[in-house]
């Protein structure tokens, strides 16, 4: 199961990155609104900040989606090959927590933070295999290379 190495003092140092869409800077709230209202299934975010900030942005995004859109994010962290196992396990945890509601009765989506080594084909394959909206926050180490490969996919640069 994926874990993040975030310490309490990291939170105080966190700076929300500038968010650019199509070369235009947009607000965090606008990003949340776009993700929630768009019919596009796959969103890819390419961070350009240090690792801790990148991980905190992942959580910032998840909490923001919950707070502002009343959509439950399912947060996945881990290796590409473990995606479905991780998703299944995380869904069980969520189902227990939200009982008596069932996950398929509420709006939800996936926020995925893969380990390094993810490529365009893997992201597309994952998006094709699941039936809900997915936001992929690509690790910084992969974001430069992936940014070039993802020409046709819609992406956000942080």
């Amino acid at each position: 199961m994926g874990l993040l190495r975030i310490r309490s003092w990291d939170i105080e140092d966190y700076e929300r990155p500038k968010i650019r869409m199509g070369g235009r800077e947009v607000s965090f709230r606008m990003l949340l609104g776009e993700i929630a209202s768009s019919k596009e299934k796959l969103w890819i975010i390419l961070p350009k900040s240090r690792r801790t900030n990148e991980q905190l942005f992942l959580l910032d995004l998840a909490i923001g989606i919950y707070k502002h859109q009343e959509v439950l994010p399912i947060i996945l962290i881990g290796g590409v090959g473990e995606f479905e196992q991780e998703l299944s396990q995380r869904m069980r945890v969520v189902e227990e927590a939200i009982h008596p509601l069932a996950l398929d009765k509420i709006q939800h989506m996936v926020i995925y933070y893969p380990r390094e080594g993810v490529d365009k084909g893997v992201i597309e394959d994952i998006a094709n295999r699941i039936d809900r909206k997915i936001v992929v926050v690509v690790p910084k180490s992969d974001s430069g290379r992936l940014g070039k490969e993802l020409g046709l996919l819609r992406t956000w640069l942080l």
């Binding site: 199961m1 975030i6 939170i11 909490i63 923001g64 707070k67 439950l72 995380r90 945890v93 509420i106």
Partner: protein
């Protein structure tokens, strides 16, 4: 919002309407229930085939937002140290 529900005697059931509510049947009978649960907290009639057969009281357990928070918290506790979950929820996710 109309909702068809099958109730068992003396048992609560759960409905998702505008919030998650618990409906307790006062009459110990099985009926096919059509219930109108707005506003929450009200006593509502139980109608079976157009005939009034009893009343239910609709009590709020929690709203959907609170349930979503439970789902989010359960995940955060799995991926980050427990001690900073509250701080994260406080600091992050704010608007502009």
């Amino acid at each position: 919002m109309g909702k068809d529900v099958f109730l068992q005697p003396d048992r609560g059931i759960y409905l998702k309407i505008r919030a998650v509510v618990r409906v307790v049947l006062r009459n110990p009978v099985d009926i096919h229930l059509q219930i109108y649960c707005k506003p929450l907290g009200a006593v509502r009639e139980i109608v079976d085939g157009g005939k009034l057969v009893g009343h239910v009281k609709v009590s709020v357990i929690s709203n959907v937002s609170e349930i979503l928070k439970r789902g989010l918290l359960a995940q955060l506790k799995q991926i980050i140290p427990d001690g900073i979950v509250h701080d994260l929820l406080t600091y992050l996710g704010r608007g502009d």
